[in-house]
């Protein structure tokens, strides 16, 4: 198997709370995997560890042959790992177009001096960014809304804009944090198709956190289940759904009720 993103034995504790313990996961190129678990299980913490928001106390994250842990978030983005956020973290007072263009900017090459003098290189760079931005907006059905402020978008559009912005950084690995949150049922159905087509079109490897089991079980090829920071199951959607510990974590058992 051609491992693209390899997470090994990742752990972090906040004070006495062991938020994530010995988390390991391997994404092969082109994978579409899911990360699920009850609220507070540590899913988003895993994303924050991988993208450098938190520094892992133990463990390694590797993209291809490059070690990512210890790098700053912007360096990890530049290395090729992009993410969306659970609570929308769009640039609310900027237009839809500018949100995407900020992502595109990562691959631009001109400096401040070129900007002030508006050199040919700067103009060419900006034109390329504009084209790429338009292309992304078209893919996510946001072309008509490109001039609006991000804060004025309906919720579903905001989620799609988050994905468009993350893809603008031209990543190899895309981490989606609850892309379906706040979407209505038809939007959720469309989202399944969208995520699949994103993987094809942009040639990215995807790991997603999602509470909507319809979405997860339908599109993910492999699922990791977290509970209290510990991995309790790994497998195909069918295997995970049958796993007794997963059922216990989600529905509770008489034992855990008593706790």
């Amino acid at each position: 198997m051609d491992a693209l993103l390899e997470i090994r034995d990742l752990s972090i504790a906040f004070g006495g709370l062991k938020a994530v313990q010995d988390f390991s996961l391997t994404l092969a190129r082109g994978d579409l995997q899911g990360l699920i678990g009850p609220n507070g299980a540590g899913k988003t913490t895993v994303f924050n560890l991988v993208t450098g928001v938190y520094r892992p106390q133990v463990g390694t994250v590797r993209l291809g042959s490059r070690v990512l842990n210890g790098l700053r978030p912007h360096q990890i983005a530049a290395a090729g790992v992009a993410r969306t956020f659970q609570a929308s973290r769009l640039f609310a007072d900027l237009t839809v177009r500018d949100n995407v263009r900020i992502g595109c900017q990562l691959r631009a090459t001109h400096g401040l001096w070129a900007t002030v003098w508006r050199t040919t290189r700067h103009v060419a760079d900006e034109a390329r960014i504009r084209d790429r931005c338009e292309q992304l907006l078209a893919t996510f059905g946001l072309t008509k809304r490109r001039g609006e402020l991000a804060r004025n978008l309906p919720y579903g559009d905001q989620r799609r804009l988050e994905m468009a912005r993350a893809l603008a950084t031209d990543p190899q690995v895309l981490l989606l944090d609850e892309p379906a949150a706040g979407m209505n049922p038809p939007e959720k159905l469309a989202l399944r198709e969208l995520i699949r087509s994103v993987r094809r079109q942009f040639d990215v490897t995807i790991l997603l956190i999602e509470h909507d089991m319809g979405v997860v079980m339908d599109i993910c090829e492999r699922i990791t289940v977290l509970d209290y920071g510990v991995t309790i199951a790994v497998g195909t959607p069918q295997e995970v759904q049958r796993d007794a510990r997963v059922i216990a974590a989600y529905l509770g058992t008489p034992e855990t009720e008593a706790r």
Binding site: T51, G52, V53, R72, P73, H74, A77, A78, A82, R83, F85, R89, L90, F91, A92, D93, L94, D98, R101, I102, G103, Q105, L106, A108, H110, L112, T115, V116, W117, R118, T119, T120, R121, H122, D125, E126, I129, R165, A166, A168, T169
Partner: protein
């Protein structure tokens, strides 16, 4: 990199227009308007540079700096020292040695070349003043821009005070040509007048030079705002965590915005020193920083045209108010005379603004954005 003549022209066209406007102000408006109006116009230009440069930091990157006068001070002293002592070294005195562009009509003979050696000295001094302020900005910004919000504000406030104290404790200024000649250049750099301020600076800041630098400032900041850099600055202000995740090197960009902003503040300080013929750190304290902040807040955090407009209004307003109070006071018995209304009106304007329109007159937008929006609404 290919750079054709056509591209070069297009790139510099706005600057050419700016310089042309500055020339018109200098050659036609200034002789007709009289000394008082000229002084106000010069002040407007300097305040526009200050407000627009502060908007780079407080508006674009959303950091809150309240030490802008400190950078102005650094630039002002450095530039003043360069022209004053430089002039002594080159010409043996500290009079104007510029061409027509540096002469204010009414000060005597206007005949002479368009540009002369003194102009070069002055421009170099302004740029050196800007660079010195930029270096100060780097030194202050590098460690403190890791801090957020209030902490940065406190650090910049402290910086402003430190600068004031440092300049006030320099050696007395030298006035005798012989003494100046006998000192080394480095020693002269420490003789900045102390608490008395640095005086006898030649009056190079004519409308032409002030507005040429205004044009340069506006062009640079506007182009930055329109580019990837501007968007990256704004992304920091919007959401630092998300900006990092999008690959924006937030610390580096914050420092760059700070350094750029300091550069232009230093430039404004240089123009200021050469417009009133002196510079005194005691007068460029927290109050001056606050005046500039008011301009940025009223104009719109992040709006270049808004800050410009606010700078214009808030420079003219005190003059208008002063004339108005003088008029009214003439008809009032002395014990009922109105006090200086400036600060009262400022405070009221700020309070009303914070309640009605906390993002400032124009928010992030430029004045012409609104016209575009209005047209779009008519269209649909």
């Amino acid at each position: 990199m290919r750079l054709g003549v056509g591209t070069l022209l297009r790139n510099l066209a706005p600057l050419v227009v700016g310089v042309a406007l500055a020339s018109i102000l200098h050659f036609w408006i200034q002789p007709a308007s009289g000394a008082f109006a000229t002084k106000v116009l010069v002040d407007i230009g300097i305040n526009v540079i200050l407000a627009v440069s502060l908007t780079l930091v407080n508006g674009f990157t959303g950091q809150f700096s309240i030490g802008h006068a400190g950078f102005m001070c650094v630039g002002g002293y450095v530039a003043a020292a360069v022209t004053y002592y430089g002039s002594h070294r080159l010409y043996g005195d500290a009079f104007l040695h510029g061409g027509v562009l540096s002469w204010t009509a009414g000060q005597g003979g206007v005949a002479g070349p368009l540009l002369a050696g003194g102009d070069l000295l002055f421009v170099v001094a302004c740029l050196l003043g800007g660079l010195a302020a930029a270096v100060a900005g780097y030194v202050v910004g590098l460690p403190s821009l890791r801090l957020r919000g209030d902490y940065l504000a406190i650090v910049t406030l402290g910086f402003g005070e430190i600068v004031r104290v440092l300049f006030q404790s320099t050696q007395p200024q030298l006035f005798l040509a012989g003494e100046i000649q006998s000192q080394s250049t480095w020693r002269l750099g420490t003789m900045l007048g102390g608490a008395l301020g640095f005086t006898s600076v030649p009056f190079y800041s004519t409308l032409f030079w002030v507005y040429a630098f205004v044009a340069l400032t506006l062009l640079a900041t506007y182009r930055i705002k329109q580019s990837g850099y501007g968007r990256a600055f704004l992304s920091i202000r919007e959401d630092e965590v998300a900006a990092e995740a999008m690959g924006v090197h937030t610390t580096r960009l914050k420092v760059r915005a700070f350094v750029l902003s300091s550069f232009f503040a230093g430039l404004a300080g240089a123009l200021f020193a050469h417009s009133i013929g002196s510079i005194n750190a005691g007068e460029l304290g927290f109050q001056k920083s606050f005046d500039v902040i008011i301009m940025v807040v009223l104009g719109g955090m992040g709006s270049i045209s808004g800050s410009t407009l606010a700078a214009i209004i808030l420079t003219i307003l005190p003059e208008v108010l002063r004339t108005a109070t003088e008029h009214v006071n003439r008809y009032l018995p002395e014990s009922y005379a109105l006090p200086d209304l400036r600060m009262i009106i400022y405070s009221l304007a700020l309070i009303v603004m914070m309640i009605v329109r906390p993002q400032g007159l124009f928010g992030l937008h430029e004045i012409w954005d609104f016209r575009k929006k209005a047209r779009r609404h008519e269209g649909t």
